[in-house]
């Protein structure tokens, strides 16, 4: 059975070109970039080239890019780094209620360390209202963090507008661009952000690599303490092959982004339309237009998400759900609850995220298979009866 991978937002396969680019740095140019001799300097040069490339992708300068072990570290670094460095100025942070756990859990940690955090609500589509941001600002506010696009339902936030507000108020602004960098245009100056998180494995690069953009002049302290790597901003021996792979992935993304976004938007809309037509009692989560080109998120009434995902897996289709059952906590996705879904609806969510190897036939196959799965599960659902 052919596998149909539709969970590109969870992780992407590493592009074969990326793997090829990485290989020489494992056994050949394997040196430590901090070393003085040539094979170390060679690795250092390779990293520098990637830095320039990543900077280019987001309209930044190379010295504003710090490599990390992924999106989570970039988010931790940005939030803790700014909070600790600016605590004399204030102790208040503003974020949204639909951030990735890497931001939410970091905020909760900071709350336990005497910072106070405002979690802004979102509307039914998952949009943050810039006016809410403006109203939440106090003279103690040192940082605003709102994600560029939401990983579960794909809603794209009004970052540039929030950026203008933050800038006007002289408050640092961070955005988690893990789901957007390499997929839709991201420009740190247009968005007016001071800090921006990226993760390589979401754009066909390797897992375990990411970057934090830090606008020149931003006051923050390191998150990883130790050696003098990354101009003393991030310690630890650089993951040279990983960073080189990240660079190649960024290069490919730059070449293919606009065409690919168009192709995926078409497939996405086909899938949405097909699902709404073929399954009753189903709703689209997230904004219909202000949405990532590759994201489809629906709630299917009366059935639970994990049981749909497992049934899809039996048919060779990889998808995900915001249901509690997919995690060790029993709570359904905080994102879906934040847009006002009931617990049943949140538990009945299903996310398909499309990517480079998604074809029209794949979409067709989902549209063929899912209605049967839903019918089978609804037949055993105690909820259907009570809603009849």
């Amino acid at each position: 059975m052919k596998r149909i991978y539709l969970d590109y937002a969870a992780t992407t396969p590493t592009h074969p070109e990326v793997v090829k680019a990485m290989l020489p740095y494992f056994t050949g140019s394997f040196g430590n970039p901090s070393s003085l001799y040539s094979c170390g300097q060679e690795a250092k040069g390779a990293i520098q080239e990637v830095r320039v490339r990543v900077a280019e992708l987001i309209g930044a300068r190379d010295e504003e890019i710090v490599f990390t072990s992924g999106g989570t570290e970039a988010d931790n670094f940005a939030l803790k780094g700014v909070a600790y460095a600016n605590e004399k100025k204030g102790d208040h942070i503003i974020t949204s209620s639909i951030e990735h756990h890497a931001v939410i859990e970091t905020c909760k940690f900071l709350e336990r360390r005497r910072f106070s955090v405002t979690y802004l609500p979102v509307d039914e589509y998952g949009l943050v209202d810039p006016d809410d941001v403006r109203r939440a600002i106090t003279n103690k506010t040192i940082l605003i963090s709102v994600m560029h696009a939401n990983n579960e339902m794909g809603t794209i936030e009004p970052i540039a507008e929030i950026g203008r507000i933050a800038k006007g108020a002289g408050i640092y602004f961070h955005t988690d661009a893990v789901q957007t960098a390499g997929h839709i245009p991201v420009d740190v100056n247009e968005l007016e952000v001071d800090l921006l998180s990226i993760s390589a494995h979401k754009l066909y690069g390797p897992k375990g690599v990411g970057a934090l953009y830090i606008r020149k002049g931003t006051k923050l302290i390191p998150f990883m303490h130790g050696g003098e790597q990354e101009r003393r901003r991030r310690a630890s021996t650089e993951n040279v092959p990983g960073i080189v792979g990240f660079g190649r992935a960024v290069e490919l993304a730059q070449q293919e982004m606009s065409e690919e976004a168009e192709r995926l938007t078409y497939l996405r809309d086909q899938l949405i339309k097909g699902l709404l037509e073929r399954i009753d009692h189903i709703r689209l989560n997230g904004h219909p237009q202000k949405r990532l080109p590759n994201n489809v998120n629906v709630s299917v009434d009366y059935v639970e998400g994990e049981s749909m995902v497992l049934n899809l897996d039996l048919e060779g289709i990889c998808a995900s759900t915001g249901s509690a059952c997919s995690s060790s906590s029993l709570e359904a996705s905080h994102v879906l609850l934040a847009i006002g879904l009931s617990h049943e609806q949140a538990h009945g969510s299903l996310r398909f995220t499309l990517g480079k190897w998604t074809s029209e036939e794949d979409i067709g196959r989902v549209l063929e298979v899912l209605p049967q799965i839903v019918a089978k599960l609804r037949a055993m659902s105690p909820l259907l009866k009570s809603h009849r």
């Binding site: 639970e304 994990e306 249901s323 059952c325 029993l330 617990h343 055993m380 659902s381 105690p382």
Partner: protein, 136 residues
Amino acid sequence: MRNVWSLYSDKVMEHFKNPRNVGEIENPDGVGHVGNPVCGDIMELYIKVNNGTIADAKFKTFGCGAAIATSSMVTEMVKGKSIGEALEISNRAVAEALDGLPSIKMHCSVLAEEALKSAIDDYLTKNRRGKNNVSL
């Protein structure tokens, strides 16, 4: 045997794919409703009792793979058992019969046990009311 490539054992997957005893029993002797939408698992378990023996059991479940498989398994296990024997079926017994559950899914087996107990309770209550006495 736990398959490394799956969250669940083959036995769980088998019951998930082909759940036994799905449905409702018309005029059941006992019904158990457990779980709640917040946690994402809701089970309904129906039993038919003949001479103190559980003659039939059916379920309806909204929930994850483990919830469906434990529902299926518990209805299988309970059929033909006396009320007394049925009350002794523990959540561990259900999980073991399925060749184990991942630790984060053990609560589903608890739910299955509770659904069964609740159905039996319902039967006993009705019966006590009706006949005033039941031999366990």
